[in-house]
Symmetry: C2
Subunit: 618 residues, 2 copies
């Protein structure tokens, strides 16, 4: 380690000395201990820059700095990091083109309660991936079996007929799975016919389970409950070392030559995101390759002004998969959120998901205080806001927009499911247990620009953002929706509707090809009513080169401009839903669908389908 | 809640107002939220006393205060408590005879970083126990099966041939098990012939596991590794609701009429001790009944001056089992540790275990700093001492006593397996990675007096204490050793030898009856050499009423007085090891065995057996 030089800055009238440090490749065998040692001293001996001599550096968990992390949409766990960027300011980490290889369950960059952090010019990869691949080499539709060849990179054992893939410091069951077509290096066409593998089924042998009483609402989907009454529905037999036969799968047998990617049981399989950014103002990642992560490429929570520029999630080492969850994900973030010049490919969930959080009022404690419950187990411990943030009160059965709002005085954290929010003003008189709250200040100005999003499982962009959203000049080729804008309450408790959305100059190539009957762009609500959820949406000048019919699916919208788009028929795959229209609209008003060029194969009377009560359709 | 009155005290020249609070039975439905709310305000609004109107109070986890707890010899977990006694001073909690019923995974009393805490006059129980019972109703030695009747109190499901017992907020597999004889309400005689049930066996189907490389030492017994290559060796079939047959057990079939107690898998089954006391000076528990806990009755760590008086661990509701682990356990405690007038019965581990911790030196970082590794996964995160404590350097192959000592300057916690200790003085020149350190100040003056210890699994007292130990006027009837004094390094990393031990005026009734060939009182080392481990031991004026021969087993001892003891033959059970002597001594010196009264049945030439090089035997 070399101190390159010491810079000076002035903060609150005090001169701050901050070191610029260069780490050389001498530490590459395990860079973790020296990094941790130096970073932990930064409170007394500040650092403005950490540079790495260009090289390949390994990072092991054994001497990493430990922190218990509640991470949205990940498992919650005690985890290690070599970069504990906690309560730091004005720090740049520059890999100068280095590759960082991580080992085991670690979070490479754990950034919290910090300001102005820049990470640039480096690639992140893992020695062993948090998923495994099986090449389908035979199948037997009559006997309902299929055979997989497992390469030497994926050690396993078989216990009582279940396969477990063993990694350095990690293991996973078959669990969640999806097929890849190695020729396209993308999700197999119509994969929903074959996957996911049906690993669990109900057990008939239960005794007196109904005698167990719970005083309060509990979450049957949480880890402590989800396996009650369920057992493995498949069995795995080893035919020879590295060749296994799977029995009991209930969908169609997966086709020979395709690759089954398996990442273990839901709830256990997101443990090592590449970047965690929380309660941080100003974060920038530039020229970054995330080749893999056991979770997301980046999970950002309660943060402000986040810019990802040439931040690429893309697989390495011949693997089908990059990250095992979303490429990026933003919860309760504000200010600017920018994704530009990025490639998000081959990850096992959305390219990005941007939303807030609904929390359920379970106790009205007095005129100023409510007890709230975290609805989804992957939102445990999420703190909804900071003092003086605007808190909206929502009753989704009445409206997708808040019926009242007030401001937060403070929040007392009791446990990961329960917090007490004290307000500056008195509670609305009509507040009821069961109502939801959302943070109205916890949404960003969102820009997604010049990005390539392809070959991943799930959506491109999943956005619940009532502030401003611009999606322009991107390329999409996703197995589900390219863009999904939901209002969702009952399952994920991800808050936010959509207003002021501009989707322009994008190319959509053969999205939604995995078998679902849904549009390439879709607006959707959980609640089946006519209330307005989405406002002021512009979809203009885009190109849809699509194998199937349904391009746009709209519901509960006030103000949609769908103009100057070009729709062509790709012929890449057979049509899945030939009776679909190109555009489907329900419970909406002030629609303007005009000046689009249609070169598709469908009959013209299928171009537009309208359900529900409609007015002001142009 | 009523504030009874406000007391005043003077601390550092400041007058401190502290409230005395009475909680009435109106809160009994779930006493947790009001308690948590009030206790969390205690930093600004101090409390000197919390009293409860006599009654039965329930405590649920849903609104309990959350803390991540690393607990010695327990699982490490994020857990809730209704009594977060953290950084408090001079507090008395008085149940006035109340019963506290806990629900799920909670720690009733979580006491840390506090001073002068008194808890008295209350009983602790759980709605659902953390173990389950099966009454053996049939067995078939030929087909190697046995049948269990499961009562309605123990809901279960069976998944892929494995039984899981489902509780409120908890579940466990069959896992660790032992037989109880319901007539004696004690561990079945010779239970080692039947139990533990052999639940796991090696799987033959592994692929490329040897390709996984670890850069550093790792713990194969830790949860992330222990199941690799192992599968369930038994299967369970439901014959009718509440009646199950177990196949595949490899020991003898358990006898009809006995009760199999099952507490789930080791490493997962200690999650809710009744009392956790850590880094606390002055703790007293008086007139307490711990009827149950999912772990220990009390686990105390790094604390000072602890007095348990009439602290009784004893089952309720007709259950065979009280706590599922030790009744009490003290790690790294100093000052006085007193257990007096206590009953410890029917717990599934020792009545008390008192020891320090060995940590392994893995890095010599510079002249003043060492990196140490926590050896056992249930010692994770244990901090070995505080500044200026004496740290002993130990190389057990050379000596059971430290070869050098120095003092701690500070300890940097990196993660639960790795800490960096900085010393005030330079390291010994001959220190080597692999050497152990122990805290020489982390042992107590121990008094165990007027206690009844019986009907539990495992030992009575397991003591590694080089300071002072007095064990007097107690009654023991345990299935393993009544008193075991070990020097142990390779498995549990529990430090401490034994010096200045007085064992007097106790009654030992039919201990060591579960099948092991060991003495009622035993001194033992892991390392097979002639070095002295134990010094100045007095065993005087005790009564041993024993069914078998071997009373005292001594090794590596310098200075033993075994005098004025009375040994009688109980006839309670058949002899297990008729060729044993009454006293077995090896590698010891300065032995004084005199004036004992022997009324046993053994031939007189079996009274004393001496192995190894001996001198100064009187």
């Amino acid at each position: 380690m070399f101190v390159l030089f010491i810079s000076f800055s002035v903060c609150n009238g005090q001169v701050i000395k901050a070191e610029k440090i260069l780490f050389e490749t001498g530490i590459a065998g395990d860079a973790t201990p020296v990094l941790v040692e130096r970073i932990l001293k930064a409170d007394k001996n500040p650092i403005s820059e950490i540079k790495f001599e260009k090289g390949t550096y390994h990072f092991y968990p054994d001497k990493g700095f430990e922190k218990f992390c509640y991470l949205s949409n990940h498992g919650d766990l005690m985890v290690n990091t070599p970069f504990p960027i906690l309560n730091m300011e004005n720090l740049t980490i520059d890999g100068q083109g280095s590759t960082f290889i991580f080992h085991g369950v670690v979070i490479p960059f754990l950034i919290a309660d910090s300001k102005n952090i820049i990470v640039k010019n480096l690639s992140i990869d893992w020695q062993d991936p948090f998923y495994s691949e099986g090449l389908i080499v035979a199948n037997d539709e009559k006997n309902k079996t299929f055979d997989m060849k497992i390469s030497e990179e994926y050690p396993y054992d078989i216990r009582n007929g279940q396969i477990f893939f063993i990694k350095e410091y990690y293991q996973h069951s078959l669990g969640q799975s999806i097929l890849y077509n190695p020729k396209r290096r993308a999700i197999t066409f119509n994969t929903e016919v074959y996957t996911p593998i049906t690993t669990k089924s109900k057990t008939s042998k239960t005794f007196n389970l109904d005698k167990i009483q719970y005083k309060y609402e509990y979450d049957k989907r949480d880890l402590g409950f989800k396996n009650i009454g369920f057992e493995y529905g498949i069995t795995v037999e080893e035919l020879e070392p590295g060749l296994v036969r799977v029995y009991g799968h209930k969908k169609e047998m997966p086709p020979v030559g395709h690759i089954l990617t398996m990442k273990g049981e839901q709830g256990l399989n997101r443990v090592a995101p590449a970047f965690s950014v929380a309660h941080t103002i100003g974060f920038s990642a530039k020229n970054i390759n995330v080749h893999h992560a056991g979770g997301m490429g980046m999970i950002a929570e309660n943060s402000e002004d986040l810019i990802l520029d040439n931040f690429n999630v893309t697989p390495s080492q011949g693997r089908m998969v990059s990250t095992t969850a979303d490429a990026t994900h933003f919860v309760g973030c504000r200010g600017k959120v920018v994704l530009k010049n990025c490639t998000f490919e081959n990850q096992l969930d959305d390219a990005s998901n941007i939303h807030g959080t609904y929390q359920k009022i379970v106790d009205v404690l007095d005129e100023y205080r409510i007890g709230v419950r975290m609805g989804h187990h992957q939102q445990k411990a999420f703190v909804i806001g900071q003092p003086n943030d605007h808190l909206g009160f929502v009753r989704l059965s009445n409206s997708f927009f808040p019926y009242n709002k007030t401001t937060i005085k403070n929040i007392a954290y009791i446990n990961n499911r329960y917090q007490i929010i004290t307000l500056n003003e008195k509670l609305p008189q009509d507040v009821q247990p069961g109502d939801l709250v959302e943070n109205l200040d916890g949404y960003p100005d969102l820009l997604v620009q010049n990005c390539i999003i392809r070959n991943n499982r799930a959506r491109g962009l999943l956005i619940s953002n009532p502030v401003n959203t611009v999606i322009e000049n991107n390329f999409f080729s996703t197995e589900m929706e390219a863009i999904l804008m939901p209002v969702e309450s009952g399952h994920w408790y991800e808050s936010g509707n959509a207003t002021n959305v501009i989707i322009r100059d994008n190319v959509f190539q053969d999205c939604q090809h995995s078998g679902f009957n849904r549009g390439v762009i879709r607006f959707d609500t959980d609640d089946d009513n006519e209330n307005i959820a989405f406002k002021d949406i512009s979809i203009i000048n885009n190109t849809f080169n699509h194998f199937d019919n349904l391009i746009l699916e709209v519901t509960n919208t006030d103000g949609l401009k769908f103009t100057n788009n070009t729709i062509t028929h790709s012929g890449t795959f057979p049509l899945l839903y030939p009776s679909n229209p190109a555009v489907r609209i329900a419970y909406s008003k002030n629609m303007n669908i005009d000046k689009n060029i249609f070169k598709g194969k469908e009959k013209t009377d299928l171009l537009l389908e309208i359900d529900g009560s409609m007015s002001n359709l142009k």
